[in-house]
């Protein structure tokens, strides 16, 4: 291997965006037959590096080398031509085209008369999906796909190119165990065929599982390249962060109060059926399952984004009418949605305005909005979540993926909800901040917040949840208490290997006790409001 040059390499590359120096003297070598990991905190410059390799950005200084020879990519097309396939961090599908058309964009199989051969298109796509082990309809439009499905389409698009180099920028961020395993199988096959692969993930166990070598970046600077063999997770974190860091946040013991969110027999035809559960104040309940099990859809229905056909949702003592996020919010509900680019953020708005958007009422002083309050509140949260930014008036669109996620978190946590539904809370967030987010959630739960957490990250589920609910094909298939939750029990239920009676028995017994504890609910609410005097005023103002 040492005789032939690396297939693709960067040499002393610098790239700046205005005053932000995203990459400084960074070098990287991708060898055939090797899976290379790229590690670094949010905003370290990983995606910028990827885009430089892909021809999206041109280096300000330094070179891109293909088979040892300097090349200039004048755009993503050039890089593709050279055999470089890229899965970008944020899916970029065309919403009005079908899944299959998206995958074969610009190189559709043609029939005799130059027309697009739809049959071949569909068959090729189906083959790809089979390889990835997912059941997606090639003919459906990309609009409305969940983030995980969008990511799968991006993966299919990249592996369909028969590329020599496959670059994957956080491909697993929204995937659960099964899909990740399939992706890894595909990646290892490509590796055996002699391709060079670059893999980025904030889940360190994935890096150790898949890759042989790792390059670390910190604040845009190259730190090291080394074999993963003999390296520990703590070593890796130390290189990324530059100091020792306790990555595992031990969950706080909390006293669990009365139920605050009660969902009973919720049904949306063809999507999910007969979903009943409750979340108590101080409790963190995880909703686990495979991609497509209907978890996000349940969350959307509870919050009023989608309507449901049957069932009811109660927050505290209020039954929600459904179909209105506004009323859900005034009842004390908050939803951190899965898709930050479409649902979570106004991408061209500033950081402070995005954070303030959920609390326009409480930002008012008289009839007009106080910029000072808006800015102070945003600054508060930026510090609490260690947001990396230039100015609060900067557009969120230029933040790194993980930092965008922090803005979404800030936007919802600052509404001071009594029930927080959070869809993939740490998608794309680096290790340090992840434990920070876990600490924050744990702390908020300790103050009486009820948390419903949808997560595909199993260690996160096992580490954080007091109780794990598992969904499979639109139904709740298991409810596993903390001390029985293991990788095996959760995965078994997620893949549909648990008996049904088990759950329905437990869920309904939970309901029976609900009425008697109504008085306790208000007490808990009081405790929540009292945590800071300022916040109580605000909460009351906002809900009047």
């Amino acid at each position: 291997m040492s005789e032939s040059p690396p297939i693709l390499a960067l040499k002393d590359v610098c790239k700046a965006f205005g005053a932000v120096r995203a990459l400084q003297d960074v070098s990287l070598e991708l060898w055939g037959g090797e899976i290379h990991a790229l590690a670094g905190e949010n905003g370290a410059g990983k995606s910028t590096l990827v885009k430089t390799l892909a021809g999206v950005h041109r280096p300000d200084e330094g070179q891109v080398l293909l088979d040892g020879r300097p090349v200039e990519f004048h755009g993503p097309g050039d890089a593709q031509q050279a055999g470089v396939a890229v899965i970008y961090q944020e899916p970029t599908l065309f919403p009005d085209l079908s899944v299959a058309e998206n995958i074969f964009m610009g190189r559709q199989p043609r029939s005799k008369f130059g027309r697009i051969d739809r049959g071949a298109l569909r068959a090729e796509t189906a083959k790809l999906f089979e390889r990835l082990g997912v059941a997606l309809d090639p003919d459906r439009p990309a609009r409305g796909l969940s983030i995980a499905d969008q990511q799968i389409v991006e993966i299919a698009k990249a592996i369909s190119r028969d590329a020599r180099v496959l670059i994957m920028d956080e491909p697993t961020a929204a995937l659960s165990g099964n899909e990740v395993a399939r992706l890894f199988t595909v990646a290892r096959t490509l590796q055996d065929q002699g391709c060079a692969l670059l893999f980025i993930s904030h889940r360190l166990e994935e890096i150790f599982d898949l890759c042989q070598r790792v390059t670390t970046l910190r604040d845009g600077r190259y730190i090291s390249t080394e074999l993963l063999d003999g390296l520990t997770a703590d070593d890796l974190v130390q290189r990324m962060v530059g100091r020792e860091l306790d990555t595992l946040y031990p969950k706080q013991e909390t006293t669990i109060g009365a139920p605050v969110l009660k969902v009973s027999r919720l049904t949306r035809e063809g999507v999910f059926t007969d979903v009943s559960f409750e979340v108590r104040s101080g409790e963190i309940v995880a909703l686990a399952g495979l991609v497509g099990a209907g978890r996000s859809e349940v969350a959307r229905a509870i919050f009023g984004i989608d309507r449901y056909d049957a069932g009811s949702v109660e927050v505290g003592t209020v039954e929600l009418s459904g179909g209105s996020p506004t009323t859900a919010m005034s009842a004390g509900l908050a939803l951190v949605p899965e898709d930050r680019r479409q649902q979570g953020l106004v991408m061209e708005g500033s950081i402070e305005r995005n954070i303030g958007l959920t609390q326009l009422r409480s930002l008012r002083r008289g009839p007009v909005i106080s910029r000072k309050v808006e800015r102070d509140r945003a600054a508060d949260w930026a510090i609490r979540l260690q947001l990396k930014y230039g100015r609060l008036s900067d557009v969120v669109g230029v933040l790194s993926g993980g930092n965008q996620q922090k803005v979404v978190l800030a936007k919802w946590l600052s509404t001071e909800p009594s029930v927080l539904i959070i869809d993939e809370p740490t998608r794309g967030i680096d290790v340090g901040t992840k434990s920070e987010v876990h600490r924050l959630l744990s702390e908020l739960a300790g103050q009486g917040l009820a948390v419903l957490m949808i997560s595909s990250d199993l260690p996160e589920v096992l580490g954080m949840a007091d109780r794990v609910l598992v969904m499979h094909e639109g139904r709740l298939t298991a409810e596993i208490p903390r001390d029985e939750a293991t990788e095996e029990t959760v995965m078994a239920a997620a893949t549909g290997q648990t008996r049904q009676e088990d759950v329905s028995g437990r869920a309904s017994s939970g309901q029976r006790s609900a009425g008697s504890e109504a008085t306790e609910v208000t007490k808990e609410d009081g405790a929540l409001g009292a945590r800071e005097p300022r916040s109580r005023q605000r909460a009351q103002g906002g809900r009047a």
């Binding site: 950005h57 009005d96 996020p325 991408m347 958007l357």
Partner: protein
């Protein structure tokens, strides 16, 4: 993030990123204001009757309806909607004004009545857009024809004139001691209110969010549909009021009053730097845009330019105001990526 090159043109159009979008609008405002001054000076030196207090009063009065309707139109366009039926609502209300006056109604009864008609017309637009989810461009092209048709049903091709002098005075006389006509004074008042609403209230923040990313606004608990409905209703109401002003100002109620006025309104809003795709714009810019359109119309009239040419000028301004920001963005982009690399939207 840039997708493959061949498809770049359509679909998820990567919005051109502006690190500090405000600077861009300050600049655009400045350009329009500078243009305003140039046109004014050009007019003052080139056309003898232009820079007189009488003519300027007349020019402002002549601008009343465009200026008034431009205010709700700004709110609509910021929220990525548009109302093309405004001039037809104006015409319908003008026709009703004449018909009811003919039928012996008192003016103080007619005006509230046509305001209600304007509200209903706006409500129909709004309901079609929000309940059926139709694009406002299509809906209001339809109602534009519908309302104008109704105006002819009400009044046919005749004209009703001879309204009481005290009301006509209100529409044409200036506020004592100033060269500002009453309708334009009202515009100034409403412009201040609109500026506050757009730039300093929660409703304004919501409008920008809706225009830039409607789904995210909905997820943030903003009542998107209710707000849009409200905007269309306000647009109908203001257009109806402009109908009364128009009728009294010309002393003539006709079904074809204000024909084509919607284009002048939209031209001044876009000229003021409001992005037709929504999410961007300032009211200051719109005021400059309105004044610029007004001055140009006045100059063309003073020089006896045919009305066809006037509408050509309006059309050109419309195109220029849509194109200029795009071209400016392209130039900026080329400067930032000197060697022609594709820009990327974000991480």
């Amino acid at each position: 993030m840039a997708p493959e090159a061949p498809a770049k043109a359509s679909a998820v159009r990567p919005r051109v990123e502006a690190p500090r979008p405000l600077t861009r609008f300050v600049r655009w405002d400045v350009i329009v204001t500078a243009l305003l001054i140039v046109v004014f000076l050009g007019g003052a030196f080139g056309t003898s009757d232009f820079a007189t207090s009488d003519n300027l009063s007349f020019a402002l009065d002549d601008l009343s309806e465009i200026a008034l309707i431009a205010l709700p139109m700004t709110l609509l366009v910021v929220a990525a909607e548009v109302d093309l039926s405004v001039a037809s609502i104006l015409g319908l209300c003008s026709a009703l004004f004449g018909a009811l006056w003919d039928a012996g109604w008192a003016i103080q009864m007619i005006i509230p009545f046509i305001l209600v008609v304007g509200v209903v017309a706006g409500l129909i637009n709004g309901l079609l857009v929000t309940r059926l989810g139709l694009p406002s461009l299509a809906v209001t092209i339809g109602t534009m024809t519908l309302y104008r048709g109704l105006a002819y049903v009400v009044l046919g091709t005749k004209a009703v004139a001879e309204f009481p002098q005290n009301y006509a005075d209100l529409a044409t006389k200036t506020v004592p001691g100033t060269p500002i006509p009453y309708p334009f004074a009202l515009f100034i008042l409403l412009a201040i209110v609109t500026a506050i609403v757009l730039h300093a209230t929660g409703l304004g923040r919501s409008l920008f969010a809706i225009g830039a990313q409607e789904e995210a606004a909905f997820f943030a608990g903003i009542r998107v549909k209710r707000i849009k409905l409200l905007l269309f209703v306000v647009s109908g109401l203001v257009s109806a009021f402009a109908g009364a002003v128009y009728t009294l100002r010309y002393g003539s109620a006709r079904a074809d009053n204000g024909l084509g006025l919607e284009l002048a309104v939209i031209a001044s809003v876009l000229l003021g730097g409001v992005d037709f795709d929504g999410g961007k714009g300032t009211l200051g810019g719109v005021i400059a845009g309105v004044l610029l359109i007004g001055l140009l119309r006045n100059l063309l009239m003073l020089r006896d330019v045919a009305t066809e040419i006037q509408s050509i000028v309006t059309g050109l301004l419309l195109i220029v105001s849509v194109l200029t920001p795009r071209i400016a963005a392209l130039v900026r982009q080329a400067r930032r990526h000197p060697r022609g690399a594709t820009p990327s939207a974000s991480s």
